[in-house]
Symmetry: C2
Subunit: 152 residues, 2 copies
């Protein structure tokens, strides 16, 4: 499965990407990165913390916040723009887009063919240097629609 192979590659190249960024490779960082690289769920810091506690009981939530923030600032993680007040992280840094469920706040990745540059070029009267863009879809995910049907 393409996704799993890609996650393994990311985990394998993680130490050298830390070195390039001037970050030390600690167990906390390895665990957090591996969790995110292997997940489709775009977890928030609290969820990351809960899921890694089993493997690393000494982990603290403040450390999770510090690590994901560092990773984000060094380009190892993306932060997904959402309408909710909790931060959501994604280890896929290549171009892709997001589906956000308005019912459960779940986030899914979606690959789309690249948009032609002329369609994402900003108007001449806008003085803004865009470094990246993404599409954010809002709607209802499969699981929530099933629940809605079951409950009438």
């Amino acid at each position: 499965m393409a996704h799993v192979a890609s996650a393994e590659e990311k985990i394998r190249s993680f130490p050298e990407r830390c070195h390039q960024a001037g970050l030390k490779v600690t167990q906390q960082r390895r665990e957090i990165y591996a969790l995110l690289a292997g997940s489709q769920a775009h977890p928030c810091p609290e969820e990351i913390y809960e899921q890694i506690r089993d493997a690393l009981p000494s982990l603290s939530l403040a450390t999770v916040y510090k690590i994901v923030d560092q990773f984000h600032r060094h380009g190892l993680l993306r932060k997904v723009p959402t309408r909710s007040q909790v931060a959501r992280y994604d280890a896929r840094t290549e171009e892709h887009h997001h589906l956000v469920c308005t019912t459960c706040d779940g986030i899914e990745d979606v690959m789309l063919p690249p948009l032609p540059p002329r369609l994402t070029r900003l108007p001449d009267d806008i003085d803004f240097h865009a470094q990246s863009y993404e599409l954010v879809f809002h709607g209802v995910c499969s699981a929530c629609r099933a629940t809605q049907r079951a409950q009438g």
Copy 2:
């Protein structure tokens, strides 16, 4: 200027849109809606509160939260997806996109020609009912680039 005229129309039709939504028209709601309709700044609840206090000193911050949430749930406001933990609101409900400054967290609106439906159609293997989408650009705004140049 097209924007101003549009804001006036929105403010004029505000009472009937409240009635349709089953909401009473109060002074707090009028002030909050008028502020947002006349603003380009996508303010957060705290900023809305500060700016309306002058005209309505009895206003409470909790009320601002309740009102913008109601407006959002009834489609009178959009909530802009961002990477930060504070909610940002927009009275423009027609299709448009957002420029988010990674330096100052400022948000600007941008109109782009509509994307051809074939480019935003989700792949067949994705079971998600999208109701809307928007483009979110991340980059650096004009004011922050000027500051950066001045400071070296």
